[in-house]
Symmetry: C2
C-alpha cells in the first residue's frame, strides 16, 4: 500500500497513491490523517488496502492524477522522530576526518538521537535557511514508521511493528554541530526540519528488496542535477530496522506513528558516492588534506529517490532547493 | 485559565478546572483536546476563558468535582518536548561532582535536549521501570507551552508565544546517562516518559509571581512523604523562558503545542534542598566523598507541587510511585 498526505491544515489529508505513482484517491473518509490511520492501524489498514487494490485495478471512479508537489510529508508532524546511525562506516569516516578514534561499542550499540518532529517539510518544500554560513547539508536516509511498541521488547519481536517506510532528507547544519555536540546534549539547532518522500509504503511494496529488516536497493542522490551517490541501503547497514526499533523501546513504551531513521546511507565502496556532503568532504580531507566540496548555499538543490528493478520510483522523489529565510 | 485533560483515547478530553482546583467543566465542545485548542489558540482561548470565568463564578450548572487521578498529562502526547538546563548552578554541580570543569559558554548559551513526546505519564501514573539498577531519578521542573513561533525571532519577541505553564517530573535513568552522553548524541534511553502536572495554567494565573518570564515561587518536592526540597524557581534561573523559546526557534519554525522545560530547579542556597536525587548525591560526593542517598527503587514515591502565597496548589501535584515493569 502507498499512502500520502495532501497539504491541508496541520496534519494533511490522507490519500492512497497507485503503485506506479500516477493516480490517487481520497481516503480521509476512512482516516482523516495518516496519524489517525496509524492510531487505529489494525482496524483501518484492511479498509485502506481494499481501496488501494481497487485504485490499482482501475476500479475507483473518483481517482485523480497524483502530484507530489501538493503533498506534505506523509506525517506532516509526528509525535516522535528518532534517527539512528546504522551505517557505522559513515560514523567511522566522520571521526577519522577529525583524527578521532571511534569507540568499538559503536559496532554493537546503536547511536541515536531524538529529532524535532513538530513540523516536517513536504517533499518539494524549500529548505529555508537564515545563514548559509551554518553549513547546510542534506542526508539521504530511509525511515520506518511503527505502530504501538511495548517497552523492552526484543529485536526479534520489534520487526513486526514496522508498518511503513519512507525516504528522508535529514537536513543538517554542519557548522553548528561541533559546538552543540561539545555541550554533550546532542543535536538541537543543528538539526532543523527534515523532509520525507511524497509517499509512505508498506514493507510488502518492496517485495524481495525488503529482507532482514533492511531495504536492499540503491539510494539515488543528485546535487544541482548531477549524480552525487547511489549506495545500496542494504549494504554496510550494521543495525537493521528491527534492532533500531528495539533500541528505541528499551526503557519506554513507543507510540504509533513513531518514525525511526537509518542515518545517512553509506557504503564502504567509494565508487557508490555519498548520501551527504559531509561524507564527501571527509573523504576529501582524508585523501587531499582539505575539503573541496562546499556546503549548500541559496539556490542549490538536492534530489533523493529510490527505484525498483524496473527503474520505477517507489516513494516518489524528494526534490528541494535551499532558499534564504529573512527573520521578522 | 486552568486546563486539564481527562484520560480518554490518545489525546485526552479537554476540561476547564476552577482556580481553586475543586470543580471542573467539560470543554471538548470548544476544542476536543488541548492540542486542538493550541492549534487554534487565538480563536478558541476567548471562548475557553468565558467558560472558565463562569466556572469560577459558579455560573456553570454541569460542573463536576475535579479529580487529578483521572487526568492524563495536559498534553497526553505532544509534537515537541525540548528540555533546557536553565539552572546552571545545577549543571556546575554535576560537573564538579565528577571533577570536570564547566565551560564558560554554559552561562551564555543554553543547554537543551530534545526529549521524547509520543506518550507522557499522567500526574498520578506509576513510573514503570524494568530494572532499578538503571538509577531512577525524578527532576522537578517548570515548562511552558507555546503557540506557533516563527524561525529566528529575538528573545524580546519570544515571550509573547508562551501560552501555558505546567510542572514536570522529568524522569531520568542516571546509570544509563554516562554511556549515552559519551556517545555524543545526547540522552535517549536514559530519558523515558516524563509526567506533567494535572493542570496547565495561563501565565496570568500566576499574578505577580510571573515576571521576567520566570516563575517566582518555590518548587516543593517530597520523597516517600519526607521534605526533599523547595528551591525558588525564580532564583538562580540563568536563562528565562523567553530566551529558551528563542533558543528553540533559532534555525526552525516552532509549532503550537511545543513544550519547553526549564531543567531541574536548583538554588545555590543549599538550605532549600534539591529537586532531584542526583543533585543531592553530588553534594554528598563533594562534602563526604561518596553518595549516600540511593536512587529510587520499586515502591518509592515522589510528589512535586507549587503553591501560591495562600498555600493553595496552582497546578495540582504530581504524585508518582515507581513500579516494576515486566517485559513480555
Amino acid at each position: 500500500m502507498k499512502l500520502a498526505s495532501l497539504k491541508h491544515g496541520r496534519d494533511g489529508k490522507l490519500i492512497l497513491v497507485s503503485r506506479d505513482l500516477t493516480r490517487a484517491v481520497h481516503a480521509d473518509d476512512i482516516a482523516p490523517t495518516l496519524q489517525a490511520a496509524l492510531d487505529h492501524w489494525a482496524t483501518l489498514a484492511p479498509k485502506l488496502t481494499q481501496r488501494y487494490d481497487a485504485l490499482n485495478d482501475n476500479q475507483v471512479s473518483e481517482s485523480f492524477a497524483f502530484d507530489p508537489s501538493v503533498c506534505d510529508s506523509p506525517l506532516p508532524r509526528a509525535f516522535q522522530w528518532a534517527d539512528g546511525s546504522a551505517y557505522v562506516n559513515h560514523v567511522e569516516l566522520v571521526r577519522k576526518a577529525r583524527g578521532a578514534q571511534m569507540p568499538e561499542s559503536f559496532w554493537t550499540d546503536p547511536l541515536m538521537y531524538q529529532g524535532m518532529s513538530d513540523g516536517f517539510l513536504g517533499p518539494r518544500d524549500e529548505i529555508e535557511l537564515v545563514d548559509d554560513a551554518w553549513g547546510c547539508d542534506f542526508e539521504a536516509e530511509l525511515a520506518v514508521v511503527t505502530d504501538d511498541v511495548p517497552m523492552h521488547l526484543s529485536a526479534d519481536k520489534a520487526g513486526q511493528h514496522i508498518k511503513l517506510l519512507m525516504l528522508v532528507n535529514d537536513v543538517s547544519l554542519r557548522n553548528l554541530i561541533p559546538v552543540e555536540l561539545a555541550k554533550g546534549f546532542g543535536f538541537f539547532q543543528s538539526k532543523p526540519a527534515s523532509a520525507f518522500s511524497p509517499v509512505a509504503v508498506t514493507p510488502d511494496e518492496l517485495g524481495d528488496h525488503w529482507r532482514d529488516h533492511k531495504v536492499h536497493l540503491p539510494m539515488h542522490v543528485t546535487l544541482n542535477g548531477e549524480w552525487f551517490g547511489s549506495p545500496d541501503a542494504g549494504v554496510d547497514m550494521t543495525f537493521d530496522f528491527a534492532q533500531l526499533v528495539a533500541h528505541v523501546a528499551k526503557s519506554r513504551h513507543v507510540s504509533a506513528g513513531t518514525i525511526i531513521g537509518s542515518g545517512t546511507v553509506s557504503n564502504t565502496d567509494r565508487s557508490k558516492g555519498s548520501c551527504c556532503l559531509a561524507e564527501k568532504r571527509m573523504l576529501e580531507i582524508i585523501d587531499q588534506g582539505e575539503a573541496k566540496t562546499p556546503f549548500m548555499t541559496f539556490g542549490d538543490s538536492v534530489t533523493i529517490d529510490m527505484r525498483d528493478s524496473q527503474d520505477a520510483s517507489i516513494f516518489g522523489a524528494i526534490e528541494q532547493t535551499v532558499t534564504r529565510y529573512i527573520a521578522e
